[in-house]
Structure formats: structure tokens, C-alpha cells
Symmetry: C2
Subunit: 236 residues, 2 copies
Amino acid sequence: MMPGNTVFAQPLARSRLHEEIVSILQKQILTGMLAPGTRLPPERELAESLQVNRATVREALRKLEHVELLDIRHGDGVYVRDYMESGSIDLIRVVSGMDDGNGALLDVLEVRRIMVPEMARLAAMRRSSADLADLERIIFREDSVVMEQDIQVHRVIARASGNLLYTIMLNFFNQLFRDHVLLYFEKKQNIERSLAFHRDIFAAIRDQKSGEARRIMQEVLLFAEAAVKESMARQP
Amino acid sequence: MMPGNTVFAQPLARSRLHEEIVSILQKQILTGMLAPGTRLPPERELAESLQVNRATVREALRKLEHVELLDIRHGDGVYVRDYMESGSIDLIRVVSGMDDGNGALLDVLEVRRIMVPEMARLAAMRRSSADLADLERIIFREDSVVMEQDIQVHRVIARASGNLLYTIMLNFFNQLFRDHVLLYFEKKQNIERSLAFHRDIFAAIRDQKSGEARRIMQEVLLFAEAAVKESMARQP
DNA sequence: ATTGGTTTATTGGTTGAACCAGTAAACCAT
DNA sequence: ATGGTTTACTGGTTCAACCAATAAACCAAT
């Protein structure tokens, strides 16, 4: 893969104004500065105190409503909800991005360690011949970058599991650990570990050996997890 | 519990205008009517064709951006993303609410069957004495409604697992199956099943028998799952 | 022919000032 | 005490602009 592209890899998305407001309020809610049940100032006041238009404030409040951090009641007001009662996984992204957010990342790793092997097991049981063909095409292609190959392998396995939620959660994991994955595939030994994994999981899924698929997935996850934790320790 | 409250149980939330727009676009994207990569008309045109103000359109588009169904690019335009690449669990809610949405609900049940017993196992291992006290207080209280009791039991177990993601996903499950849970606790035999479950899981967690906690949780989940599937078959 | 800078039309982002619509609290009549 | 009415406040929506980023067309220099 192309080395040294860490600087201009991302388009450095300039934050939009309403996203700034989201960050400010998010932080205050998650740190408890704004306790659950608290009633926020009216939109008009918020807009004035933030020196911003009311429409901009509204777009920010809307986002916080979507992640169930706020309760917006027409004619009444805006109330802070208890984030421990939220059912929005997006909250994890927010918490992960905070100062001591690595704890949340460890939580995600723990859940992934349980879910993804099970996903592989189901995939081995349920895979169609089309799934198998996709997997083979992805794995036995010389020109491709291993990292992209790896992501696609997981994606096809998720699809083969026949469970939409697995696909979505896999995407969620990939997004969350995007930076760590980039680092992971810098090391030659990790790349070789992945290639071996691709070979083995393909065989297991081809032969519909569900237990073995599960085991293979679990092993590679533990391996990758150790690498992630190590890089987290270095760059907190 | 109070019977016959099915009519006025919910405040029949009148949909806000921007939510209507969200529904319309969501449907078109998830059914493939709007294919990934498609560029939406400019906000101004959308507003005109929907006979609605641009600010209202924007709040709708914002929501769809949050669930990763749209990609909004300043100065460029609004593009439809591939929902199979979304990492937003909220999508499941949307899919579940569609015509053939029960498939998605079955997917969620399948994941829950894997995750929640593991959550109980961790809770038994990690529970603090405060967690245990909470659990005891909730379970051995005569005046409470069993359904609320049950939800709180699960909530404390999630908290005791020490993993924030479990708490959030549990909330997600509860919200998704809210209606089914209501039906579930109409039946006397189900209530008794839950009371026995509370007793057993409490003992397992108290004695920190993690394997047993896991097994007990798994059994009650399978039991409840069967009931949910049955009621799904009756009321699709 | 390619590169790099400039212009321009288009599109999302933000603003200000209104008005509509739902809520809760105070108030009043019964 | 109960039920209906008024009122002040708050979120929801609208309208009409202007700001800012993008892409495409264009142009100039190499």
C-alpha cells in the first residue's frame, strides 16, 4: 500500500457551524454539566448567546434529538435526557471521541469479540454459492491492497450471515477503528496474518464448517485486538 | 397492571413536517427508487416540489445525513449513499417500520440472543456490591409492576457488565420491541416466568456464577423470543 | 499537450424577521 | 373542586436574502 499518506489521506472536513454547537452541547451533557431533566434555554436565547442564527441552533438540536440526548417538545421546551437511557449507538462515537474515550473503545472491542465470530458461524451455515464466489474473487486477486481486501472479506461474510444488523454493526466497527486499522496494515507481519486468515476462513465457509469459521474469526479478532490495544497505549 | 390501556397509552405524537419528509425520502432510498450515488435535486428545488420551506427540507436532510443515508457536500450537492455501507443502527428502526420489516426484527432477535447472555455473564463476574443491592431492591419489592421491574432488572445487569455499549444496545432492543413487550406481560404465565427469572438470575449474579447467569439469561430470552415471534405471526 | 490560475454558475450554509401552532400556567366561571 | 378560557411562552415553519465552498469552463504560461 502507498506509504506516508497519513497527512492528506483525509479531506480535513471543515466543521460546519451547527456541528460546532453539537459538540459544545454534547460535551456538557455527557460530562453531566447539563444534568438529565434540565431544561435548556429557548432556541432564541441559545441562538443569541452563541451569536448564531436560530435555524443553525435548530439543526444542532435536531442532531442531539436523534441520538436521544435531547427531548424537544413543541410549545414546551428542550430537555436534557439521561444518556444512560439512550438507544442510539452513535453515542459511542461521541464518547469515544472524548478525552478518556478509550474506555468506550474497549467496550466496543469486547462486544465485537462476541458478535463477529458468531457472524462468521452463521455465514458458514447460510452462505449462498454467490457469496462463496464473491469471497473467492476478492481473496484470490493479486492487484488489490490487502487492507481493502480485508474489509471486503468481512463485508461479504456479514452479508452471507443473512443478518442486516451484522452488516451495519460491522460498518460501525470499521468506521470506529478506521485509524487503528490503517496503522495495523502498516506492519508486514499483520498483513501476512490477514492473508492467512482470508485463506482459512474461505476454506471454512466453502466447506460450511461453521464451528471452524467461528474459531478462525475469533482468533484473528484476538490478534487484531491486541494490536489495537497496543497502539491505543502508545497514542491515547 | 392496568388493563385495556392500549388506546391512550401513547401520546399519539403528531408528526412534524420535516419528519414527514424524512419518511418519504427514507422510503425511496431503502426501496432502491433512489439508487446509491444518485444526486438529489438542490434543496431549493426539493423545497419547491414538496411545497415546503427550505429550512424544513434542510432539517430533514440533516437527519438522513446522520443515519448515513445521504452525503451532503457544501457547494456540490446531496448524494444518496449505499445503506449497506451505513454504520448507523438507527437504520434498523426504519427498516423494521417498513412493510416487510419483520425480517429486520428477526435479525435483531438473533443478535440479541448472542449479546445479552454474554452481558449477563460479564455482569456476574464484575458486579459490584452496589449493583447487587440495586438488583435486590428492584426484585424484592411488592408494589411494582412486573414489566417495569423486568426492564429495570435488565438495565442493572447491563450496567453491572461494566460495558456502556451493552447498556445502549439493551435500550435499543427495549425500544424496538416495546409493543411486543407490552403484549408479553399481558399473559399471566409470562409474568410468572419473569418472576422466576428474576429470582434465578439474582442468585447467579449474587454468587458470581457467571456461566449460570449466562445460561439463565439465554433460556429466558429463548422463551420470550418464541412469544414475540408468535405475536408477530398474528399481527404482521 | 499539460499544468496552474481565474472566472462563473451552482449549491449548500447562515442569517434576520416574521408568523403559525402547541403547551402550560394563570385565571375564571360553574 | 371541576372544567373551560385566556395568555404568555416556546418550538415549527416560512420568506427573502446573503455567505461560502465546489466544480466546470476558461485562460495563460510553460
